[in-house]
Subunit: 485 residues, 4 copies
């Protein structure tokens, strides 16, 4: 085949013999879910777990094989921890990318340093000063991954789950333009889930997520819907009625939210944006506010008024350590019999997608891929999120159309930041990265000199993770007080 279409062509997958390379396979969160889903899937094969923390990969391999020994298992899988990345990748059909640095050394700075300068990001993980620094740490690593994939398994299907999904997926393509990579994220699934709630509450019908179809478009965590159907029925008139009801007009104080989880979505930002611009955001409010940045103004009170609660750096630091977190999964407890193990499917769609690539049921899912027409008026090559059809041997995005001008304008502002950082990362040019940083909508609420200092402080705090950048050659850093090389 010729090579002009992105992320699409590649050999089919033999569903009876799938080789999966899982980079970041020591994960305590998603891996245990995946293993159970695979055990209940129509697929069989082998999973190679690779992690910088090799012990965690070994633990997961043990757990994966343990799962395979449960009675209810329907599929045949073997798990192995592989210390060498290239070995793990060699000849793989599918590559999973899902990694994260120790948040205590990285993420906490992304949250705290901007906060000291008055930037009160809700998540600080995908855009804004913190998101940009996460990108700056992550992009060089993913360039390496892409280069290894080109060598070891050039036709593999690459599923990227690592944030910031738009930056990271873009970096994979920038390094290896013929990669078959797709970025995935749960947020749109959640939006469809929210719509089932609306159907149930307003229409009195029992709905499932699969009954809801949407035309989604945008960039990851800043996606929008301009069509939503429940079993083929147009939900738009219903949404337009609801925007004037109490459901869409709630206000909150910090006290109201005191006991709430930051992950509970009140959707008041969603409704406000729908009211102003006529299309519906399709991600949790905590993500949307990072991109529609006026909602961040006024710090805690400003943010809370919309029902959005910031995840703190304390929380993030703890989340890493399974002993202290409830987002991670203690697989040892299961294996040791300290906790009862149940085998059920997670409602994730990874195994369905691999099966579709192997010739099972054709399906539609939202994916992050370089724009080559799916979205109007965003530059070609920028990684956008839209629906795609997944079937034997291909993942092809569908054309999703354009945006109302104000929405397009906000999206393009962020695309400019993302592309500027990607361009800077080609040579590791810190000054060029700083020019992109200055574009960020959160950063622009600071005076240019304060933005300069904040940038230098972030570099100083995370220097160890920024060694692929030319820190020494930077005049931006040389001028700054906060960084002394």
């Amino acid at each position: 085949m010729t090579e002009s279409v992105h992320g699409v062509q590649a050999e089919g997958i033999d569903t009876d013999d799938v080789t999966i390379a899982y980079i970041g396979g020591g994960s305590r969160e998603w891996a245990p879910k995946l293993f159970r889903d695979l055990a209940l899937s129509d697929l069989s094969g082998e999973v190679r777990l690779h992690d910088i923390d090799h012990e965690s990969a070994e633990r997961n391999a043990e757990f994966g094989n343990w799962v395979q020994n449960r009675d209810e298992v329907q599929a045949d899988w073997e798990y192995e921890a592989v210390a060498d990345r290239d070995e793990a990748l060699a000849g793989a059909d599918v590559v999973i990318l899902s990694t994260q640095y120790n948040p205590a050394e990285t993420f906490v700075h992304d949250l705290d340093i901007p906060k000291d300068h008055g930037i009160y990001g809700a998540v600080a993980a995908t855009i804004g000063p913190g998101g940009i620094f996460r990108a700056m740490r992550t992009i060089p690593v993913y360039r390496e991954f892409a280069a290894s994939i080109r060598e070891q398994c050039p036709d593999a299907w690459v599923f990227n789950f690592t944030n910031p999904v738009h930056f990271v997926t873009r970096a994979l393509y920038d390094e290896y333009p013929d990669i078959n990579a797709v970025g995935f994220c749960h947020e749109v699934l959640w939006t469809r889930h929210h719509l089932t709630k609306i159907v149930e509450e307003e229409l009195g019908e029992e709905a499932e997520r699969s009954d809801i179809s949407v035309n989604v478009k945008g960039i990851n965590h800043f996606t929008w819907i301009e069509e939503a159907r429940y079993k083929g029925r147009d939900l738009w008139p219903l949404l337009e009625d609801l925007v004037d009801t109490d459901r869409a007009n709630r206000e909150f104080t910090p006290e109201d939210l005191e006991d709430d989880s930051p992950f509970t979505d009140k959707q008041q930002v969603t409704w406000e944006l729908f009211r102003r611009f006529g299309v519906l955001p399709a991600a949790g409010d905590r993500h949307i506010v990072e991109y529609a940045t006026s909602f961040l103004v006024g710090g805690k009170e400003g943010l809370n008024r919309w029902g959005v609660k910031r995840t703190t750096s304390d929380y993030r630091a703890k989340h890493w350590n399974p002993a202290e977190s409830d987002q991670t999964t203690n697989v040892e407890a299961w294996m040791d019999g300290d906790r009862e193990f149940e085998l059920y499917h997670s409602n994730e769609i990874f195994d369905d997608m691999v099966a579709a690539l192997g010739g099972e049921d054709t399906m539609v899912a939202n994916v992050n891929m370089p724009n080559e027409g799916q979205v109007t008026d965003i530059e070609d090559g920028a990684v956008v999120e839209t629906n795609a059809v997944i079937r034997e041997g291909e993942i092809k995005p569908t054309t999703a159309g354009g945006f109302p001008r104000p929405v397009r304008s906000m999206i393009n502002g962020h695309v400019d930041t993302i592309e500027a950082i990607i361009e800077a990362s080609r040579t590791g040019d810190v000054d060029e990265a700083f020019a992109g940083f200055l574009l960020d909508q959160q950063v622009r609420t600071l005076q240019t000199e304060e933005a300069h200092e904040m940038f230098a402080e972030l570099v100083a705090a995370e220097e160890e993770y920024l060694q692929d950048w030319d820190l020494e050659g930077s005049s931006v850093l040389a001028e700054a007080d906060a960084y002394d090389g």
Copy 2:
């Protein structure tokens, strides 16, 4: 929903109660197939047959209901002939458009007049001087259809089968931009069928059309493939080998073809274009040569050398009259018991598509819709053919990428002709249409004055069918000898 995306939005279809309005429902060719497919489908409902020749619609209604009385029938359908077009359309879920003028008064001139000037089109039905005149006759009628649909069933799914599919589908959108219209054609299905033959002969495997997936793109009858897979396996290396074998290097003389049907596809044009440009044409050679016009040079001998045989005007005139044609179906013979009736499915996918729109299995099929990103470097709004995903409540084209420059250049030349004629049809400006006519690649092989005379002769011969055009106001016609108003 907002309205920025084409042909996509609309209410779902209730598969137990589908109302189909069939304009051109007196057809002797496709209608009898359709009725049998519906009888074996998962759908039930009502079909309203409308035809200018009302008697033929009545005959088909009778036949449709007769089919429903066969034993093997699995679905519940009622057929009715409706004399008033608006009544037929009122509230329809699905509209089928499939009409044709009496070829003895129209098509024969499309074939004979250009031939007198040395233009030896193989089909003369979708491009070239004959195709343009078919378009000029048809576009005004389809503007009327679109206007009626806007009034009677604005959200209906409109399936257009009428040629020239690109001109006609474009006219529907030009008249009613929010129409949910899709143009369909069999050629790509045939290409996939040909690929199954290659798989069988070269790989020794038994293949079905559904095992072959392709990334198709272009304009109708001038579509191209840059990926082809058999059960997920890349067929490209095989095709690249075959191009050097005898299969792809055959020559023919007029004598060789004497007894062949013009509908037998030797595929030598297909291979030659693949050899030169690296992508594979995805339509029968007889259609392709109308667009890659050097194959037409040299008249009968030139065309035959590639194994392509022209359909004659005699053949076309006869084809209209069921008594003399074997392409039409004598349903009376079945009903009268003069011929044994068998109920089997035709391998067409119309009923599958309607079922998918109603919530059954998601599927991918090639469709003709306005370009809004599916194809790179062809203007927005031009009707292009690509794959689309069809599922509950939507038909969304997938992004298909671009073309090698020479292929793109040929396509764009034809797009310019098509768009020029569409623009001229807005006001019925004959001189503007003539400027578009002069662009046509077949017409350009004539001196400009001969093209002028040929144009005037065609108008003179088909004047009765061109009454929506401003013939009187045309200075091109006034200047011409061949037309005297």
Copy 3:
């Protein structure tokens, strides 16, 4: 001629008999300069002065004719005050548009209301909340002007000097696409003047503005230079050296600026942007900060640090009354002999441009016209500022290329605001205008609800001037406390 090229075609001007219609001809600032320049020009003809304040037009007509009676006069001009606008325009060769509302009832609110919400714009006249409201007041009036010009003098050359130049020039084209309108502004002339100072101080040569040529591009008041030459010699290496010197690294306190005029340009914003983005802003810092909005953060202190001083609402209110202002000209004093009159040329280029259109020396000047290729990556039709060649019968912009991504991103953000307001103005839709208002980079520093209230307060304060907008139909206003209809 065909009509596909903007603002370019039209009949030539007879330099011996030019008819100028001057809308806003009662001006006390520019008109007296113009009359003297005309008196010293190579042109002769008639000037029709039209003003809502007819008396001021009469006073200026008297003054114009008085000037013509001075000894040193070289050209033959007659001045007449014309009360009826259409009569003033009828058959004019050249139209000057230069109007302003009473600032005490308008401009002061543009300055004070945003300031109450913490937005400390330096000028508040062309972008930001104040600039947008000026646009909302002005656009409907200029739509009327465009409609009158279409009727009275469709081929006239229209010179627009009214701010916001980008909004207003865009409105003229939106209303009458074939208008030959050009927006003019002094800022780029000042930039070239500043470059002469640099040449004198750094190169020790005596330079004149006409020795400096630049490649300018952007939108009015946010224009950029990527080439600058002194007598053909590249100034870029010099500028790159200077950015590291004291000249380009000065800081200011509010005290430092206490006695300075707000119109004195310290150029520290210019240098900082050049340092970060590699291209040189080509407007006064006080205008640039309205578009590169981080310089506005921190109120007075933040702004003053860069040497920029805000013009106050008090100043603006006074400026209207000649008795209290020194920017306006007391022509009565001259005519009464209370002040000595000197006839000299102002260094403006209006008369040179008219002469060039009439066949005198071909020249290059910066102009604001709809983008049709002069600037890359800004949407077609948006009014951009670039150089143009002016010669007999034409004003044609030159191609100026593109921008570094961060600069382009900032410009496009403002283009989106401008276009959104223009689109809203077509129907007077206030809610659509508010969506555009929310896009503004200054407004985005407020929480969305505060932006909402500020918008309503501005409407309430300037309601009298916003009667062409559908205030009653607005749900944005209905929801707001600050506006009670």
Copy 4:
């Protein structure tokens, strides 16, 4: 300066000390004119004449210096023949490129071989099979020139006069994107001259070429005008009247033309195209028919009917030899006193352009430069012809707008051929070049196999001049009978 704008930046020229490198400086046609023009110009300096035929360069140097000794000379110039190309270029301010191969070994084949296949090109020098082969011979040489210029005089102004101007100028930019190259041609000057004739004959006024201004756009030799003014007065209504008169409706037989020069322009093609498409071609009919190829159909008779006469290969072969040609100039006769020498200006504008670049009068002239916005709907980077403003240190094209669709379609077809050949020339890929060759509108009138043979015959005939192409690696040539490697 940054480098994003083409052919524009560079140091100024000192008009008292201009260094010109003239590649192809042994010319017998244009060089003698140039020397006289320089002698009468406002410029002084040195001309380095370089030619493969060094003797001819020496003869011209001698003649140049001889001219300088005439009494009437107003400027100070020295001429020198330089055998080494790099030495000639070193530090030059201006480079003239004007070369041609021996037509007896090249051009004659471009004319005769296609003619044998029924392609009756009028000139065969810039497009069509002959033009493409001229391009294939010339592009590699001009890539070398561009590389030398990058080394020897990177900022020089490069004036390319060599045909095919669009191919050759494009090749210069493809090799060295920052080159300051401009392609020049006389055709538009002739069109303006023709318009002076119309003004004189129809309006009874004495006009000069400089009184006529036009908005020109297209590709070289296929340029179009959509505005024409005489002293600022719109000529369009006059042209629209004339198209119906005898002037625009003449027919010719071969006999009528028997004694005419092929260089006499009857303009009947021009009028016919104006009639059909509403814009006026701006090149001689003999060039236009090579691009609007239906005028070539029917061989001699077809072409002659429009008053166009082909230049024969005999003529071209002779033209090379001064003894037999009257287009070349016998400078020896002047120097020897055998022929009286007169010093007058040629009406060429080369010296005016160099003077403008050096700071003399700003002027407008038509130039060929890469599209970066000057022309709408032609791809960026393709070399287009439009007006440009020329002033101290810059040549900047003006924005010229778009085309009626049919004209744009014809132009884009040729742009595709040109770009395909340029792309093929990057690696010398003959098969890729053949794919571009097949696109050519003249070639498309042949059956694909005949086109194949013609291509191979042309390669065989001109093989010596095609050594930079990978002839051996070509499967197109390997398949062909006419070429045996």
